[in-house]
Amino acid sequence: MGQIIISGILLGGIYAIVSYGLTLIFGVIRVINFAHGSLLMVGMFMAYYLSKGMNLNIYLMMLIVVPLMFILGVLIQKYLLSKVINEPDMQLFVTFGLLLLFENVMLAVTKGEFFSLDMNMGTIPIGSLVLDWGRLINLVAAIVLAILLLLFLNHTKIGWAIRAVSQNRYAAGIIGLRVERLYILAFGLGSACIGIAAVLLTPIYTIFPHVGFNFVIVSFAVVILGGLGSIPGALAGGMIIGLLESLSGYLIAPELNQIVWYLLFLLVLFFRPAGLFGIAGSEEGGVK
């Protein structure tokens, strides 16, 4: 049982780290970013190829992957999404197009083959319980990244500006913030966060063009559960869903491992639509 709780927490770390990027993008630009999972996949392929090509440790690849993903995010926002900035429907449509595009470009490149890093980093026994290094590093990184993002959003000028835009983009425009630029920055930052997640997940999962797809729905749920745009919310949401999935898989049946958190998610939405850490009423405006 203890082992299951540990697995749940470690899984929570994974769900949290894949959700930071989404909560930034979702919270600020207010577009349902369907391309989220495929960006994660692109990041994982970058990390894998670079690490193999340069024969360096995978975690060092963050130095390259994160800036590359930042640039990719900036390009997407600047040349695609900002063209349809006043049309939320078309923004969603474009992100879906990007999902298909990224997945299938990688499919055409790799012919759908599977890639894995075999990093048998060993385990850490604690009494009768066992932790594994890959997921532990990921969990620590998830917590550290949450703190860094919070510091950035709360204690820097750009961070304040981003928060202002996410709360009210019209008012932010009126007080002289350059909303479109901040959008570009937010998408870039969100993508950079996805890049960090991609590097951390590369040793854990097998990489193939559809690997990101399985994380899309869960990260939407984490973001809404935690509260739109809330970093601590994403961390808490990830933990809750990770634990619930692990426990219900163990106690009920592995094929029903998601059903409890689906139900909890719906219950939370029913009683507290703004999410656990969201500002009450933020759902009322209706994010489009």
Partner: protein
């Protein structure tokens, strides 16, 4: 919008219409007199694209082989790819192959969900559907007389798993069947479920203690499967699933430092799992698999040639064992076409029903040929049991297929 952008758009639209138009004119070539066309329906996109592509390579090598040796009935053979990942696309593509491309025969299919509608359409037009891969048992139970399954499928995969536990694994562990405890884990789609359920039933008949745990192959975490299995403390961990979930499952077992005495998977002797877990990780893991590449040349004549031509053409070792199955299956098809002197479904079926080839010694898969007259399943297409040794796949069972002096080595000791 600027003028340039608009022009680019118009150009792209024209290009698409052009491509679409070309596809429709391409099929109108009048050379069907000199060419035998075989349509290949596989998932060439989507999550199973890799398997579709690798399976197709088997067809491709067999066709190249026959074309360089003078063709078939004096004609060249041409393959036409059709990409279908689900039932809806299967309908479109099967219709295209038959009515537009005018193929003589259709072969496939890695995904059973694609095979159902595709076989129905082939049946409507009376075109032979030459099934080399699909595992769902009821594909051949639809009462169609044009669907022949030459390769192994779910039932033999499951029964051979049980038989090899009985004949090889249990003796190696020094236990009797009634002392054995088996945990079956399988992904929950039709592939894993059909095999897992038969295994459970057969093992229970033999008196073994069995627990069956289905799971979702798309799960981001399989620790609950691993821990539930570990709690049972089984002698044998029997798995049916795909590559990515297999890698995750094994890695998560390694992450908690649990390795049961026996791990046996379905077709887990592929290059991707080796990359994921390394030589050491895969050491000793058994697979009930498609005929493997180290088989004895006497049992599987032509296997060395096949391997050479694969390496020459694609510049690597074969990635998954299914490639050989489609290669061998296509060779049987060619022999039948020669025998029937036609590509007509009825004539080929008659020839196939007459065919009586014993297991081993004829085809590079080692398969024999003897169709079940009711379902048209090949009753002599049997899987083999393989084991990973130092990063190489060694065939263990059946004895006549074993090329080297490989012996089963059990139990497994740690990751």
């Amino acid at each position: 919008m600027g003028k340039i952008q608009r022009n680019v758009l118009i150009l792209l639209l024209i290009a698409t219409i052009f491509i679409v138009g070309c596809s429709n004119s391409a099929s109108s070539d009048s050379d069907s007199q000199e060419i035998i066309k075989i349509g290949v329906i596989q998932p060439f996109s989507g999550p199973n694209a890799q398997a579709g592509e690798e399976t197709y390579k088997g067809n491709e090598l067999a066709v190249e082989n026959i074309n360089t040796n003078g063709g078939l009935l004096g004609k060249k053979v041409k393959l036409i790819k059709a990409d279908a990942t689900n039932a809806q696309e299967a309908i479109s593509e099967a219709e295209r192959l038959i009515t537009k491309e005018k193929v003589d025969i259709i072969t496939g299919t890695y995904v059973s969900g694609v095979a159902y509608p595709a076989t129905q359409i082939a049946n409507k037009y009376g075109v032979l559907y030459w099934e080399t891969n699909a595992s769902a048992p009821n594909i051949t139970q639809q009462g169609f007389n044009n669907v022949i399954r030459i390769g192994q499928y779910g039932v033999p995969m499951a029964t051979v798993a049980v038989n090899s536990i009985k004949d090889v694994v249990a003796p190696a562990l020094g236990k009797s069947l009634t002392e054995l405890k088996v945990v079956i884990v399988h992904e929950q789609s039709i592939y894993g479920t059909s095999i897992g359920e038969i295994e459970e039933e057969e093992l229970k008949k033999l008196g073994a203690k069995v627990k069956r745990i289905p799971y979702d192959a798309a799960s981001a975490d399989l620790s609950s499967v691993v821990n539930l299995s570990k709690n049972e403390n089984p002698d044998i961990w029997l798995r049916t699933g795909y590559v990515n979930d297999g890698a995750l499952l094994f890695k998560q077992a390694r992450d908690i430092g649990w390795k049961p005495p026996v791990i046996m998977g379905q077709a887990d002797d592929n290059a991707y799992l080796l990359e994921a877990l390394g030589d050491k990780g895969m050491e000793g893991i058994l697979s009930i698999s498609y005929p493997s590449y180290d088989m004895n040349e006497k049992y599987a004549p032509g296997i060395k040639d096949y391997l050479d031509s694969y390496r020459n053409k694609y510049g690597s070792e074969p990635k998954i064992p299914q490639t050989l199955v489609s290669y061998g299956g296509t060779e049987i098809l060619f022999d039948l076409i020669k025998e029937a002197k036609s590509t007509d479904a009825n004539k080929i079926r008659e020839a196939a029903l007459k065919m009586d080839v014993k297991i081993g010694g004829t085809y590079p898969t080692g398969y024999g040929v003897k169709l079940d007259p009711k379902t048209l399943d090949n009753t002599r297409a049997f899987p083999v049991l393989t084991q990973w040794k130092n990063g190489e796949i060694k065939t263990i069972y059946p004895p006549e297929a074993v090329g080297t002096d490989a012996k089963i080595e059990l139990p497994l000791r740690g990751w």
